[in-house]
C-alpha cells in the first residue's frame, strides 16, 4: 500500500512537472552535414540549448537533400513529422498543399519579420498569407568569380556585358588559359544557363520565363539568343569538364588554370578556405546584366502535437530569424543574412556587394528566385528545363530546336 501511494504521488509529480514548464523541444531534419555547413548548424543548436530547448538532430546526408526528402516523406506518411525541416522555395508550398505545415504567424508578427525581410523572399515563407517557414540565409547564384592575377596578366577587366565576356574569353583562350571553369553536371549547366538568361532576357523576361512559364517568352528570339550564348560558352570550357564537381572547377580558378567561374557564393567559401583574399587574389562580380538571383535556405515548420514541441517550434523560428544567428551562421556559410537590418561589419567585400545589390534589386523589382536551385519552380518543371539545357549544352543541338524542346518539355511536365 505504501509503495502504491508513493508511485501515485511521483506519477502526479511527473505529470504536473511536464505541464508546468513545457520545455521547448525540436526535432530538426536537415542535410547540412559537410564541414562548414555542419559548423553552421551547430551554431543554431547551441543557441537553442542556451534558451532552454532540447534539440534532437536528424541529419540525413546524401544526394543534395534527396535522401533527406525521402526520409521526410516516410515520416509524414507515418504521421510523425519532424518539428522543422530544411526546405526551400516552392517545395514549401508543395508540402503546405499536402496539409502538413504549421502556422507560425504569431512568432513572425511578434518579431516583425515582414519589416526586415525583402518582400519577394518573405513571399516564399508564407503559405496562403500565413507564415509557415523561417529563412536562414540568402545565397546569390549569379556570381562570376575570377582569378585576379590571370586577368591582370592578360589585361582584362571584369566583363559587364556578355559580348565583353566573349571577347575576354577568346583572348584568354588564345593565351592558353581555360576561359571558363565549369563542371558538367546538370545543375551546374543550369546555373550557368540562368545567369546567361538573366543577362539576355533581363529581369522582367526572366520572371516571365522561369517563374510564370510564359510560353511566348520561352519560345522568343531572346531565348534563342540565350541558347546561342550557351553554345558559345561551351567553346570556352576545357574538353575534360563532364562530371567535374563544382569545387574542383573553383580550384582551377584558384590555381590559375582557368580564369572565370559562374557559380553561387558557396564558391567563395572554397577561395577563403584556401586562404585567398577577395579583391586581391580573386575577384567577384555579378554576372553581366541587372538583377539578383537568390537561393534562400529556410526551415519549414511542420504540424506537431504537444505543447513542448510547439514551444520548441516557436523558439526555433524566433532564433533562426534573430540577428545574432543570422550573422554568425552566414559568416560560417559564406552567404548573406536574409534580414536586411543586420550589421555587416564582419563580412567580406563580396558579401557587402551582394547585400548592396540585394537591397537595390529588391527596390526595383529585379530580386528574382533562382530556377536552377529550386527557388522559382517546382521540381518537375525545373527538372524539365534542366533536361533541355543540359542536353543542348552537351550535344550539337541547335538553339532553335532547344527552344522548341523547352516549350514541349515544360508543357509535358505540368
Amino acid at each position: 500500500m505504501k509503495k502504491l501511494e508513493l508511485g501515485a504521488v511521483s506519477a502526479i509529480a511527473l505529470v504536473t512537472a511536464g505541464m508546468a514548464t513545457a520545455e521547448p523541444k525540436a526535432e530538426v531534419l536537415h542535410w547540412w552535414t559537410s564541414g562548414s555547413e555542419a559548423k553552421s548548424v551547430a551554431v543554431l543548436q547551441k543557441e537553442f540549448a542556451e534558451n532552454g530547448g532540447t534539440w534532437t538532430d536528424m541529419p540525413v546526408a546524401g544526394g543534395g537533400g534527396d535522401a533527406a526528402m525521402s526520409a521526410l516523406r516516410a515520416r509524414v506518411l507515418s504521421g510523425n513529422a519532424p518539428t522543422a525541416v530544411q526546405l526551400k522555395g516552392p517545395a514549401i508550398q508543395e508540402w503546405y498543399e499536402e496539409g502538413v505545415l504549421a502556422d507560425i504567424s504569431s512568432v513572425a508578427e511578434a518579431e516583425g519579420w515582414g519589416d526586415v525581410l525583402p518582400a519577394s523572399i518573405a513571399g516564399h515563407m508564407k503559405c496562403e498569407g500565413s507564415w509557415c517557414a523561417a529563412p536562414v540565409n540568402v545565397h546569390r547564384v549569379d556570381w562570376i568569380w575570377a582569378n585576379a592575377d590571370v586577368l591582370e596578366a592578360n589585361g582584362i577587366t571584369m566583363p559587364t556585358t556578355w559580348d565583353e565576356f566573349n571577347a575576354a574569353a577568346a583572348k584568354l583562350q588564345a593565351a592558353g588559359v581555360i576561359p571558363l571553369a565549369h563542371g558538367g553536371q546538370a545543375w551546374q549547366d543550369a546555373t550557368v544557363f540562368e545567369a546567361v538568361a538573366l543577362g539576355i532576357l533581363g529581369a522582367e523576361g526572366f520572371r516571365k520565363a522561369f517563374v510564370e512559364l510564359d510560353e511566348a517568352t520561352l519560345t522568343s528570339d531572346a531565348m534563342v539568343a540565350v541558347f546561342d550564348q550557351m553554345r558559345t560558352m561551351r567553346g570556352f570550357v576545357d574538353p575534360n569538364f563532364p562530371g567535374r564537381d563544382w569545387n574542383l572547377a573553383t580550384a582551377m580558378v584558384m590555381n590559375g588554370e582557368a580564369a572565370f567561374q559562374i557559380m553561387g557564393d558557396w564558391a567563395k567559401g572554397e577561395f577563403l578556405a584556401a586562404g585567398a583574399k577577395p579583391g586581391e587574389d580573386f575577384l567577384c562580380a555579378s554576372v553581366p546584366g541587372d538583377g539578383f538571383l537568390y537561393n534562400v535556405d529556410s526551415f519549414a515548420m511542420f504540424d506537431v502535437d504537444g505543447e513542448d514541441n510547439q514551444a520548441g517550434q516557436e523558439l526555433l523560428a524566433k532564433l533562426i530569424v534573430g540577428e545574432s544567428f543570422q550573422t554568425v551562421f552566414n559568416l560560417n556559410k559564406g552567404s548573406i543574412p536574409a534580414r536586411v537590418d543586420v550589421a555587416l561589419d564582419d563580412f567580406d567585400s563580396c558579401a557587402h556587394l551582394g547585400a548592396k545589390d540585394m537591397a537595390a534589386s529588391a527596390d526595383n523589382g529585379s530580386l528574382l528566385p533562382s530556377y536552377a536551385h529550386g527557388m522559382a519552380l517546382r521540381g518537375a518543371q525545373a527538372g524539365a528545363i534542366t533536361d533541355v539545357v543540359t542536353a543542348h549544352f552537351n550535344s550539337d543541338m541547335s538553339s532553335a530546336d532547344a527552344v522548341q524542346q523547352l516549350a514541349a518539355a515544360i508543357a509535358n511536365s505540368l
Binding site: 574538353p239 563532364p242 527538372g383 543540359t390 542536353a391 550535344s395 524542346q405
Partner: protein, 290 residues
Amino acid sequence: MTKWLEHHLPKLVLAPSFIAVLIFVYGFIAWTAWVSLTRSRLLPKYDIHGFIQYDRLFASLRWDVAMNNLFLFGTLFIVISMVLGLILAILLDQNIRTEGAIRTIYLYPMALSMIVTGTAWKWILNPGLGIEATVRGWGFENFKFDWLVNPDMAIYTIVIAAIWQSSGFVMALFLAGLRSVDTEIIRAAQVDGIPTWRVYTAIIIPSMAPIFLSAFIVLSHLAIKSFDLVIALTGGGPGFASDLPATYMYAMAFSRGDIGQAASSAMIMMAVVFTIVVPYLYSELRVKND
C-alpha cells in the same frame, strides 16, 4: 495431432515467406500500378486519372534516350559478355596447369560492388587522368579516347565496365557447363577424327543450351536493373546521354517529386522484364509437364 502437424508443417513453415512475398512483391507491384494511374507528385495520391503518366512518359525525350540506351547497353552487354565468357571458358578448359589461379582472377571482378567498378573505370577512362593521358604521355600526342565525356559514346563506357565486371561470372557458368558434357561422346568424336572446333560447335555448345539460357536471364536482369554503375561511372551524363530507365525512375521519384511519373516508368521496366522472363518460365514449365 502429430498426423495433422506432419500434414501441415510444410505449409506452416512456408507461410511467413509466402505472405511476405505476397505483400512486399506482388502487393507493391499492384500499389505501383495504381499510383502510376494517378496524378501523384510529392506524396502518393489515389484518385485514378487514366493513362496520363504514360502519355507524359512517352512524350519525354529523356525517357526515350533512357530506353534506347537500355536496348543498346543490354544487347551489347549480354552478347559480348556471353561470347567473351565462352571463349575464356573454352581456353581454360584445355587442362592448363594454373587453371585455379586464372579462374579466380577472372571471377574476381564479380566480388566488387558496382560502385567500386564504376569509380575505378571513371578514373581509367577520364581523358585527363586515365588511358588518354597515359598514352599521350608516351608521346602519341594525337591519341584520343574520350568516350566518357562524349555524349554519343558515354553509354559504351558503361558497357565496357559492365562486361569487365560480369564476363568472369559467365565464364564460370560456362566452365561448369563444359565440364558437364559427357566425355564419352567427345572421345568418340575424337576417335572418328573430327577436328576440335567441330567438336565444340556441333556437340559441346549445343548440349550447353540450358546454360546459355540461364546466363542470358541473369545478364538481362542485371542490365535492366543497372543503376549503381551508371551513377558511379557517368552520373547519367554528359547531360542525360547515358541515362538508363532505373536512373530516370530514381530522378523522378526522389529528386523531382514526381511519384506518378516514377511509378509509370517502373511499370514499363517491369513489362520489359516480363517480356524476357515469361517465355523462359513458359518453356521451363512446359518441359516439366512432359
